[in-house]
Symmetry: C2
Subunit: 334 residues, 2 copies
């Protein structure tokens, strides 16, 4: 008696904010593993801003999701059937399992998880791609030094919360930019940022000048647009801008706004560099061990925003683009 | 009987292209040196795109030229009177002498020149700030490796011609972007670039794709605007963009166009970094010696576009912004 699989297929390339009709919700029997493959029951699905880029038909760092294909997503699950000697039934694993209940894989890009150490959702947040992005983007690309000023945008988001906390661990002065008083309170009071700027009620350029009197040494950008310009207007000499994302632009139907004051890079002998976490895959174990130790020591906290129900995917995804998520957004598959 | 000095003072902050009425042409007696100072008869005045930025009232890497002040300019001259033990009458020197016939200086930032080795104008072009900008911008910021593809804009200009030739010396595949068939012919046939793209008659984005089939590894940008966007659209993984200037934007009265496709930096794990030649002043002698050796070996050529007459300054300067200069533009003071 085969299992039933529910999944979301890409039906149309979204224009602006994705709509429910951009996806097709399908019910069909789950596939059985062939030789070398195994079946994963997906327990949690990571919802990430990058997913908006994956459904655009443009040249990028990965091929776009094809029309009719299962929507691409990172996830975490348990092996339910296996014809692969490296993975046994009952193993917990993470990988690109897609927005569905049961995934079939040959193990490419799949990592095993020790579910006894931390609650499973942590392996999609601080110990998953999210945490790795923060860790390598800040430390490897941003190269913060003790006493320097680090600014992060989308600071109450999944990556931003971790960036700011690691910067504090590295003895930096840390300023977060977030939307609304509750997010600003959270990053300062609960996470220990030195200051927060509410972009919904403040003039970000002026507030950055106030909170960063010596200028910004490292700016970790998740948003692009006018906040990137405000940061460029407040750089210290030799500043490093880490380009991690541009969520303000992903669902915009207007032409992307490039930073009009990019010549601040010349005036300040500064750099702007893009990073992709997948380039650091060989170093994930070392970073994961270090971050787990920080968590155990109470220096690194994470919060997961878990929404139940695979079928809510189209609407839940939009929380990211409306700034309605609290840190790491994920789906719990019922 | 004191000498007569002619000089250009800044009269108004230019809007768009500078006009003659933005300057005042003044005749007055030349000042005599006080203790520690010396007088320089200016022989050649360097005309550089950066001068357009120096007259804007904005925060930059140097203070703006004040209204009523002598227009700032690099120059080269001979000491005509001295009360400074380090500089003797007859010494040839270069420094920020301004747009005038006689400058008074205490020697800050002044370098002596050995006028017996090369014709004087070479010390304002390939062996001056121009050459140093090309040398350090390409080698230190761009970090080209043998076999890599290097693209330079304003390729027939003062800096661009040197960037391209040094890249050839370093065994790179070199593509120059210039305006018009004569400039394109010059950089390929006379200077040995591998290819030239005429931005006035070609689709630069498409031509870059054709001439850089493996993508651009180093893009040396002197122009900004749509050509920077075309380069961003054709980066190789790990590309380095050197931000040296943005001449397409300096005289524009429209808002500066930021590169709308800057997220190519993320897709390609690429960087964009600003450079200012003054940061390398300690290494000028070593770079000058290396470039002089390349010139002696016939590997590095330079061309100077010398216009006679201090009084032509306002109109001659505009040649830069209209793309009418042939490589290094300078005034010969009669």
């Amino acid at each position: 008696m085969p299992l039933t699989n529910h999944k979301f297929l890409l039906a149309a390339r979204p224009v602006g904010m994705p709509k429910r009709t951009d996806w097709t919700y399908v019910e069909e029997p789950a596939d059985e593993p062939k030789d070398g493959e195994f079946q994963v029951q997906v327990l949690y699905i990571s919802l990430d801003p990058a997913m908006r880029g994956w459904v655009n038909e443009v040249r990028s760092y990965v091929a776009p999701v094809a029309i009719g294909e299962v929507m691409r997503a990172l996830g975490l699950g348990v092996v339910t059937a296996s014809r692969n000697p490296r993975f046994a039934v009952g193993d917990h694993v993470s990988g690109l399992f897609g927005v569905q209940e049961y995934a079939l894989t040959d193990g490419t890009g799949v990592r095993k998880i020790d579910a006894r150490i931390l609650p499973l959702p942590k392996y999609l947040s601080v110990l998953g791609m999210t945490g790795m992005t923060a860790y390598f983007g800040l430390l490897d690309t941003g190269q913060p030094k003790p006493g320097e000023t680090v600014v992060v945008s989308a600071a109450a988001g999944a990556v931003g919360t971790i960036v700011g906390q690691i910067a504090k661990i590295k003895n930096c002065h840390v300023v977060g930019i977030a939307g609304g008083p509750e997010k600003c309170r959270y990053i300062v009071e609960d996470l220990g940022f030195d200051a927060a700027i509410d972009y919904k009620s403040e003039d970000v350029r002026r507030s950055l000048r106030q909170h960063c009197p010596k200028g910004i040494d490292v700016y970790f950008d998740n948003v692009g647009g006018s906040i990137l310009e405000a940061a460029l207007a407040n750089l210290a000499r030799g500043a490093r801008i880490v380009i991690c994302g541009a969520i303000s632009q992903y669902c915009s139907t207007a032409p992307v706004a490039g930073p009009s004051n990019y010549m601040s890079l010349l005036i300040n002998r500064a750099s702007m560099k893009g990073m992709l976490v997948m380039d650091y895959v060989d170093r994930y174990p070392q970073a994961g061990a270090e971050m787990a130790a920080w968590m155990a020591a109470g220096k690194l906290k994470s919060r997961e925003d878990i929404v139940e129900g695979l079928e809510t995917f189209p609407e839940t995804l939009l929380k990211l683009f409306k700034g309605e998520n609290n840190s790491k957004l994920m789906l719990k598959v019922s």
